[in-house]
Symmetry: C2
Subunit: 295 residues, 2 copies
């Protein structure tokens, strides 16, 4: 066992953007004796083997997870429940089961009841990623200087949480621990609703009869292009996120609609001072993002 | 007169982000015999002289514009009318008067009536810029591979439009000519409404009691940070844009609200297929942006 090795065998269930990045990062840092992978298609498994971020793999998630001491489900949020329920009965005591999904309440709700004795559930969420998908899109430095949030349910063995935290720190992340419900509310505003808005505005643009799609694309440098980048994210992943963080997302969209209505009203009535004050407030938040080196 | 020189004397009225970038770009390409600048504060004039993108300058816009054969108003949209009305009577026949504002209907409405005989009004809008402000933030390559839209009113001398187009092409831009009303509708969707939404969502985040501002900033890498970047743009400039493109902005915000309501409804009722279809459509637009090299 090398000095940096934390786990004997890590199983990555799902080998897309996050799974491949995590595989590369674990390998680079020498954190696992062996990395085993499972994916839905042989094409993805072959790509993972070719890219070298798993040692072996196949289509059977149970086979990959068996005898691993860390199992990371790297699948869209909507598949985590089924995969976890399929894998859980075959895990040996002492194993840590985690995931990288963007909603955490759903993971606790779906997996805690099916967990065998001695297996530790420590749901996780690396707040990182690009708009790209698939095993070819991963890279080892994706998690550097990003936050990884862990949401162990009440009663989780602190040693299991700490061991998983050590892995995330070793791939370059800062780790924050909070409860799943709080995670889902914070992420609704910092990630989920921004994506929903980006999807909405791109849809609005496509349907406009006053401007052709070609014109919209041509002149997108004025702000729209940033929304198209966000809206290029994986549709399956985002469908699942919204369906699994329904309450928090709907509550924040409702607030946003009210705030937007107030700005609309200020524009309609020519209240320049209201607009100026709101815009100035927003500028300060950007300074905070830059200071926190998340820009 | 050098081979590339297009104008004997260019006057830049306003020396902020766009004014300074244009000054640097005109100088680099050798397009003007002399660049004269005017700004609201001596501090800005001094910075412009120090940075070397004007040859001389001061606080008097009329003095700067007098005897120029190209006058470019590089001020926030809300100041263009007053500046233009102040300068116009002092322009000599043959001079081209233009601007770089993000709304164009307002410029035609405010300046065409005060134009002396023989002076050519060719409003312009370089679809370029960063979230930064001030004379120090400009750079010569800002306009490269970006679009510049010119909106000459009906009856404008085509030679004047062509001469200004030649200047924009010489600083690296592609030029498109359209009427001011159409410009304002297209830009409402590609620039103005995206900014309004970004301002709104940052405001919503600040006011949330479920998450502290520090948490919002910390976990902003999930999408929110892109909105904070857009919302960091100059508050005065954006206030003026919304007040001067009221109808088009309000119409598109209304449509966006409807589209957002449809997505909210799909989330509430668990209609994953509706979400998936919308998100997939949005992804194709991103491909268009990348293909058009505006990403």
């Amino acid at each position: 066992m090398s000095q940096t090795q934390l786990f004997e065998r890590v199983a990555l269930i799902g080998l897309g953007h996050i799974g491949s990045s995590l595989g590369h990062a674990i390998r680079r840092a020498g954190l696992a004796g062996e990395i085993v992978g499972a994916a839905r298609t042989q094409e993805t498994v072959d790509a993972a083997l070719r890219l070298g971020f798993i040692d072996r793999g196949g289509l059977d998630a149970v086979a990959a997870a068996r005898d691993a001491d860390l199992v990371v489900i790297c699948a869209p949020v909507g598949s985590i429940a089924a995969l976890g329920q399929q894998i859980a009965p075959h895990l040996r005591p002492g194993t840590i089961l985690t995931d990288v999904g963007s909603t955490k309440g759903s993971v606790v709700r779906d997996l805690l009841p099916v967990l065998p004795a001695g297996v530790h559930l420590v749901p996780g969420h690396p707040v990182a990623g690009t708009e790209h998908s698939g095993p070819e899109s991963g890279f080892a430095s994706l998690f550097e200087n990003r936050w990884c949030i862990l949401t162990p349910p009440t009663g989780t063995d602190p040693a299991a949480t700490e061991k998983l935290a050590a892995l995330w720190r070793a791939v370059g992340s800062n780790v924050e621990i909070m409860d799943a419900e709080h995670h889902d509310r914070v992420l609704a505003i910092t990630s989920h609703v921004p994506h929903l808005i980006a999807y909405a505005i791109v849809g609005t643009a496509i349907d406009l009869e006053q401007a052709t799609e070609q014109e919209v694309i041509k002149f997108s440098a004025g702000g729209f292009r940033d929304f198209t980048r966000i809206a290029a994210s994986n549709p399956t992943m985002w469908r699942d996120i919204f369906l699994n963080n329904r309450e928090a997302v709907l509550e924040i969209v409702q607030r946003l609609s009210e705030d937007l209505a107030a700005l609309q009203r200020a524009i309609r009535w020519g209240q320049g001072d209201v607009l100026f004050e709101q815009f100035t407030r927003a500028r300060d938040v950007r300074r905070g993002v830059i200071d926190a080196r998340q820009a």
